[in-house]
């Protein structure tokens, strides 16, 4: 990875100029990475034990999420995310409990139990745009969000994240193109984790990586070691600075690896060599950052272990609280289709509520997601 920005090498040694960050920011970043890992692991357990239906492994990509999150000013910036980015929320103060509400699809969930797990929607404490399953659709939306800020003379930027496979979607093509033409303050962060479900990058595109795709849209492309949180932070910060200065969008390719299946429904052993996992385990973003922080004297081994234990406990507790919350009410099937419920929907809602409550007869609650 010669043209790839790296600050910490896999062993945690500094090999590039570290960004100037206060110690408490560094610790906040580390803590968010630890909590991301803990949230991920808790969800995997919950899914395996049948408590929730589905999750999307985040193991291995903690540095991409947290490094990019730390470069944002959420008082003014927006995020138009894909699904594999727990760390952005956790870094910026979204409560684990609120995220667990979504994993359980309970009444307190941001999408009121309407979406699958990992399809978060937050407006506070950061504008974290509602995630949808169709891939790439958030990309042109991010451009519109950015253009609105630019049009009003605001300084905000919009960070949009997506996977390597998603560069093939219509949204990538149209979003990048509009951003180039309109100079929108948008950071396009491609999480190149090697795979789109079972399809490796070589079968997704014949281009030399993903950063180069910026040229097709007149957008500078940057490649960064996605397992190096400081490098990610630096690349995104620089892109944010350019965007705030009115210099337009940047495409960042963060090279990382999906340390697990695509989702809880996927078995990667069918198509990923075990040796690949082993190799990438050596490049673990947490270990690397932890080693460096300890070496720099900014963190002690004990502190780190305490943080890890605390994070595990936090996620367990959050899952218990979320599990205990009630399901959404039947009415929630029908509202939020439009701001004002039209008459035909009111009729359907009344019928539905009457039908199920009068009968007192439950419906079959089975259902498990296969992908």
């Amino acid at each position: 990875m010669s043209d790839t920005l790296q600050i910490l090498d896999p062993s945690g040694k500094k090999v590039g100029a570290a960004p100037r960050l206060k110690a408490d920011t560094l610790l906040r970043m580390f803590r968010a990475m630890v909590r991301t890992r803990a949230f991920d692991e808790r969800c995997m357990k919950l899914q395996r034990t049948g408590r929730i239906g589905f999750s999307i492994p985040n193991r291995g990509i903690e540095a991409v999420s947290v490094g990019s999150a730390a470069a944002l000013d959420i008082a003014q910036d927006w995020v138009a995310p894909h699904y594999r980015d727990f760390g952005i929320m956790l870094y910026h103060g979204v409560e684990a409990e609120a995220m667990m509400d979504n994993m359980y699809g309970n009444a307190a969930d941001g999408s009121v139990g309407r979406q699958m797990p990992v399809h978060f929607s937050f407006r506070e404490p950061l504008r974290y745009l509602s995630i949808s399953s169709p891939l790439g659709t958030q990309i042109p939306q991010a451009v519109g969000v950015g253009m609105a800020m630019k049009g009003r003379g605001e300084d905000g930027v919009c960070l949009t994240t997506f996977g390597d496979g998603s560069t093939n979607t219509l949204g990538f093509h149209s979003g990048m193109n509009f951003a180039g033409v309109f100079g929108a303050p948008v950071i396009f962060l491609c999480q190149n984790n090697g795979w789109a479900i079972s399809c490796p990058v070589e079968k997704q595109t014949a281009s030399e990586g993903f950063a180069v795709k910026g040229e097709a849209y007149g957008i500078p492309g940057v490649k960064v070691d996605g397992n190096d949180v400081l490098a990610v932070y630096r690349a995104v910060s620089e892109a944010v600075k350019r965007a705030r200065a009115g210099e337009g969008p940047t495409l960042i390719e963060a090279v990382t690896f999906r340390m697990g299946g695509h989702s809880t429904s996927d078995d990667p052993s069918k198509y990923v060599e075990a040796s690949e996992f082993k190799e990438w385990e050596q490049r673990c973003p947490l270990k690397r950052f932890r080693t460096w922080l300890i070496h720099e004297g900014k963190l002690s081994e004990e502190q780190a272990m305490a943080m890890e234990a605390e994070a595990d406990a936090e996620m367990l507790a959050a899952s218990r609280v979320a599990a205990a919350k009630p399901k959404p009410a039947l009415e929630t099937i029908f509202n939020d289709v439009f701001e004002t419920m039209p008459k035909h929907l009111r009729t359907q809602a009344d019928w539905c509520i009457g039908h199920y409550s009068s009968r007192g007869e439950g419906v079959d609650e089975k259902g498990e997601f296969p992908l």
Binding site: P134, T137, P140, Q141, M149, F338, L345
Partner: protein, 325 residues
């Protein structure tokens, strides 16, 4: 007040609301200096600047996707799709995103956006400049579908659509763009969405229609009146989603005989929904089969388009059949 054609009324509607609300933006292919291929946006870049009325790259997915982003962040974009036939690259952004954003975010994010697009036949446009796709959209929960048939309604419904907090597909019958003029008030006024318009009174039978079929139905009613002295009611649905179902059912109950008229292919078209509503909720009042007069279940032809499109004669035949049943 001045006498305007429909396309002028659209232009005037855009201008009027843009003067009052500077969050309203226009975007689309050739909507800027050229003023749109039908001149619906003529003069707007000159008056409001490139920031508020601008050309986009040739990408409908981008137009709607970026428009959604603008709407999410405080603007009221009015996106033009040059012909409705070219809306399909944006289908995913419309049906998966704009229509579902409020629902999937529990109301945290909303998309107050209008997608304007000329639709329908009558201009020798062949397969790809003539289609009427309302049924594709009216089946999509979360999306409103509005189709005016007069200059007055075009302006008022368009302004209502722009002010609406939800995404609206605003389909403009291009065959009527310059078909006739009508008095249109100056400045901002609205026409309530989800109301139908009685075009011709009558209770011998009722014809439901919208867009460019409204004058066709009106002409058929006029000729029936002339030849048979029977009063056939013509109802312009104008807001296809949400539909004023009560008004539709009431007209059917009052008239007992029904014809539903559309340009689009018949199978699974919007007219089918009207028939289904009646078969479910007004079957006791029906004194005859519900006849549909529609385009054929083929792509839209070119040379023979006037044999494809329903005309007054075809509508009269159907009305006479239900009257004589």
């Amino acid at each position: 007040m001045s006498e305007l054609t429909m396309v002028q009324a659209v232009n005037d509607g855009l201008k009027s609301i843009m003067r009052e609300d500077d969050t309203v933006l226009l975007m689309g292919e050739d909507v800027g200096p050229k003023g749109g291929v039908f001149l619906a946006t003529e003069g707007l870049t000159a008056e409001f600047g490139e920031e508020r009325c601008f050309d986009t790259p040739l990408s409908e997915d981008g137009i709607v996707g970026v428009g959604i982003g603008l709407a999410l962040n405080g603007m009221k974009p009015v996106c033009e799709i040059q012909f409705q036939d070219f809306i399909f690259p944006a289908f995913d952004q419309i049906v998966s995103e704009a229509a579902k954003m409020r629902y999937r975010s529990g109301g945290q994010y909303t998309v107050p956006m209008v997608v304007r697009t000329p639709y329908g036949g009558g201009i020798r446009g062949g397969l790809y400049h003539s289609q009427s796709g309302e049924a594709y959209f009216a089946h999509t929960p979360g999306l409103k579908v509005v189709i005016p048939s007069t200059p007055y309604d075009a302006k008022g419904l368009l302004i209502s659509s722009i002010l609406d907090p939800d995404p609206v597909l605003f389909m403009e019958p291009k065959a009527l763009y310059r078909a006739f003029r009508e008095e249109v008030p100056e400045g901002v006024y609205t026409v309530d969405l989800s109301t139908v318009r009685e075009v011709v009174p009558g209770d011998a039978a009722v014809i439901y229609c919208w867009g460019a079929m409204v004058p066709v139905a009106t002409e058929a009613a006029r000729r029936i009146k002339e030849t048979r002295q029977q009063d056939v009611r013509v109802v312009d649905l104008r807001t296809l989603m949400p539909l004023d179902e009560d008004a539709v059912l009431q007209a059917a109950r009052e008239c007992g005989r029904v014809v539903v008229l559309q340009e689009a292919p018949r199978f699974c078209g919007y007219a089918s929904e009207i028939s289904a509503l009646l078969a479910e909720h007004a079957v006791e009042s029906l004194e005859a089969p519900v006849r549909r007069v529609t385009g054929f279940d083929t792509p839209f032809p070119n040379t023979l388009e006037n044999y494809y499109l329903p005309d007054a004669r075809r509508v009269m035949d159907a009305v006479e059949q239900v009257l004589d049943f």
